[in-house]
Symmetry: C2
Subunit: 159 residues, 2 copies
Amino acid sequence: MATEVVEQLDNAPAEKLMAATISQDAGFLLAKLHAAGSVLNNRALAEFELKERSYSVLALANSELEPTQREMAEFLSLDPSQIVSIIDELEKRGLVMRAPGKQDRRAKIVSATAEGSALFRQAEAAARAAETAALTGLSGTEIAALKGLLRKALWGPAA
Amino acid sequence: MATEVVEQLDNAPAEKLMAATISQDAGFLLAKLHAAGSVLNNRALAEFELKERSYSVLALANSELEPTQREMAEFLSLDPSQIVSIIDELEKRGLVMRAPGKQDRRAKIVSATAEGSALFRQAEAAARAAETAALTGLSGTEIAALKGLLRKALWGPAA
DNA sequence: TATGGATAGTTGAAAAAGTCAACGATTTAT
DNA sequence: ATAAATCGTTGACTTTTTCAACTATCCATA
């Protein structure tokens, strides 16, 4: 009978450097937690042949917000040209489709197909599980507080 | 007389996508805040010909913790080979130096030179200012809370 | 209602960053 | 002694990022 090993962030190896002043730096902490989470996230999404990026795009396409590619690029902090190739691939797989903007025909509104929607729902569940694994050190209340602070930092009290 | 423009995160443009479900995703929020902060950080560090990466390495080298390259790589979530080239450059600039590990002569302990230390102190002040700018939406208490949660997520209550 | 300037998406090239396998030197285990 | 593992390094390869052009379309204004 194998011992039950809970998937966790690898904080095992000598973290003596925790004492360095840089461990008080918000930028560093954000980068490190994001890096650790990304590994779990991408691992979880691989099953659906998605990565964090394509998952995010699919998520936006699956919303009722009718986002344009430009809006996606801004929102995801990506270059517009990166959005192009992500959507190219998702479209080729039949998961999303482009439609011309209603008021602005230059813009293209990206929406998920039925297949895309279905895949997203599955991937979303996996991503949620990965997030839980990444934040295993925090209680539910703490996770909510963390998200609230992150949103407030990004968008102000309105978030 | 020009109007005083406070440097801030560009949350101005239509953030209608805030309503998307992905805005509740911790991984997304971490990535986005980190991306926004990185821009300010790198801009602030450019004056010293440093980037986030080299700044982090210099910070660790400047500590009294005598980190090896391997420990730096682990701590900064980088590949050991990436550390090599960052240190190569810092060493070429006379900011850090490599010394053989005392117990293990395979390992190399990286430490800041006097110049490196001096440069780091200046860069640190700039980085702090950049962090404040990036977290302008949060109060001092909230910033402390955010950092505390990030540290706990990474290293548990011990952090 | 033309005309000029801006903007959306796309393409392609170049630079930067990340991944990975191999190697010599050294350490650790047997 | 010998074998296996580890540290830093190199070099190849892939992926990601950045950026400048280009077409089509929109917007402002003369």
